[in-house]
Amino acid sequence: MVDTRLTILLIDENPVRSAILEDGLREAGYTNIVHLDTTHELLRRVFSVDPDVILIDLANPSRDVLEQMFQVSRTVKRPVAVFVDQSDTAMIEAAVDAGVSAYIVDGLKKERIKPILDMTISRFNAFDRLSRELEQARSELAERKVIERAKGILMKSRGIGEEEAFVLLRKTAMNEKKKLAEIAQSVVTAAQLLG
């Protein structure tokens, strides 16, 4: 049911997420994809692209700019609706949860738009998961670094071995019911304060 002639306009300031979505859409056979990464003169550009479907990330304040297209106005060529089928609350909810909104221009049928929305929702969700995993990996790396520094400080100031320093940190963390990284951070901070 993929209609590859549809023109899809993607408005997203996040270059990685939009590339992920664009790839997916191209793989699915859609070739007319226009990506805008800035919202400067948005309406004029929307009119010149004249898309069938507009996808915009929900964190983008320019959603309100697009809403101007709903207005009875001389500048709009074709009527615009948000989400094909308003009765399909589950689809709207899935899109909002994924962080994207879709505007469908002039009476496109549900069957023609559904594969695009499904693809968008799953790619937005995948990107979100990826970002969270990346964030977690970053913070774990930062924690490991701070623990290494705390161990070094303890080894030097107390003249103990690496293993002993680590046991000391872990024991303190357990006694104070805190995370190992928090105790390590206080050691580093204290060392900085005390010179």
Binding site: A59, S62, Q68, Q71, Q86, A90, V96, S101
Partner: protein, 408 residues
């Protein structure tokens, strides 16, 4: 389906907690959305200064980046209530901005607070038109702008572009009313475009707009940055104008009347707290936080105190009632009908009768009276008066449309 599921889960959770073995009072959950404008203050204060808690509510606030998101999350039941633009609630009930989300308004959050500003180039051109009179008066400023618009047309310069915040906003209607009153056709003689409030100053300094109408604290931000000049405040254009309201999802309001009453009492008390001058410095600091407005507390305090910068380098002038939270929290049907008439005037809705019906269904002073245990006031609603002497007869909006030159 999804909506029922969300509410059912919440109700179940509460039923579990009020078992006989848990005697401590249980606070009932309310989730509300807000945007980064000074008039989100009553919601922030209701949460942070204990007003919601003392009404037995556990108020969760979520910041949103657009009015469209607010409307959609009300529609989906993610939010029970939200800070909303007064006219946008009528549009939501009517389904003018899709999707249709039936909303009721049990109370007003604030009055006025908007201002129209122009660039230095436009202000200089207005001054040069001669016989400009006192440009501080909206009518004189409008007349001067009209001469600038006409002069630009004569030499073939592109029309001036003005920013506003949303098609169904007080800003859109106040700006259009001011332009039209001065003989400038907002559809033909200038361009109007939506610009999100936090981007207004940057859009102006980049040269993409020549002026705008926006709410506090954003007008002062561009004046402080040396690029904008305030030419009219909303309190001068239309004193006592309903600005933001508490919009409540109708399904939720119908299902949880007691929680709604508690919310209205909490937010009304918060409004009174916000208007107490002694609380303003604390309020400014609350709002300045990164998760809320993320702008300097000094600028917010200036807006709260009505000390409005009009021109770069000129000391702030105190403007009486520039922004008020308290005293007029009962929804005004007359004020709401004015917005309904403006929607028809500018072609956003075709049938006046249908818009008035939706307005009646949306603005619910009876819910305000019920929450606060008040009897309905005997006297009629305050009339809506405009700076140019036009008076809006709420009983006869069709006559108003004729008066401003639109065949009913």
């Amino acid at each position: 389906m999804a909506i029922d599921r969300i509410e059912a889960t919440r109700d179940d959770g509460i039923a579990d907690l009020v078992s006989p073995r848990a005697p401590q009072p249980v606070r009932e959950a309310v989730t509300a959305g807000f945007v980064a404008l000074v008039d989100c203050a009553p919601l922030i204060v209701a949460r942070d200064k204990g007003f919601a808690e003392s009404e037995g509510l556990d108020l969760t606030l979520v910041r949103e980046t657009s009015w469209a998101n607010i409307r959609d999350r009300i529609f989906l039941g993610h939010f029970d209530a939200a800070q909303m633009l007064a006219p946008m609630t009528i549009a939501a009930t009517l389904g003018l901005g899709l999707p249709a989300a039936a909303v009721v308004v049990p109370q007003v959050l604030d009055l006025n607070g908007n201002a129209i500003a122009v660039t230095t180039a436009v202000k200089d051109a207005m001054r040069r038109t001669g016989d400009a009179g006192d440009l501080d008066r909206p009518a004189a400023a409008g007349a001067a702008l009209n001469r600038v618009v006409a002069a630009r047309r004569e030499v073939g310069e592109p029309p001036l572009t003005f920013g506003m915040t949303y098609p169904f906003s007080s800003h859109n209607y106040e700006l259009r009313y001011w332009l039209a009153s001065a003989g400038i056709d907002p559809e033909r003689d200038v361009r109007l475009m939506v610009v999100p409030p936090p981007m207004m100053a940057a859009t102006m300094s980049a040269g993409h707009i020549d002026g705008y109408c926006v709410g506090a604290p954003w007008p002062t931000v561009s004046v402080a940055a040396g690029i904008g000049h305030v030419v009219a405040t909303s309190v001068a254009l239309k004193p006592g104008s309903m600005e933001k309201v508490l919009g409540v999802r109708k399904l939720w309001a119908d299902r949880h009347p007691e929680r709604l009453d508690a919310l209205v009492r909490a937010v009304t008390a918060a409004c009174a707290w916000c208007d107490d001058a002694a609380n303003r410095p604390e309020l400014a600091h609350l709002l300045a936080q990164p998760g809320i407005l993320d702008v300097s507390a000094d600028l917010i305090l200036a807006a709260l105190s009505g000390r409005i910068l009009t021109d770069p380098g000129v000391a702030a002038e105190p403007v009486a009632n520039y922004l008020r939270f308290s005293g007029r929290n009962r929804p005004s049907l007359a004020g709401a009908r004015w917005y309904a008439a403006e929607m028809v005037r500018w072609g956003q809705a075709a049938k006046l009768a249908a818009v008035l019906d939706a307005t009646e269904a949306t603005f619910r002073p009876d819910l305000y009276d019920r929450a606060l245990g008040l009897a309905a006031p005997a006297s009629a609603d305050r009339p809506v008066t405009l700076f140019d002497g036009v008076s809006f007869d709420a009983g006869n909006p069709a006559a108003y449309l004729k008066q401003i030159g639109m065949a009913g």
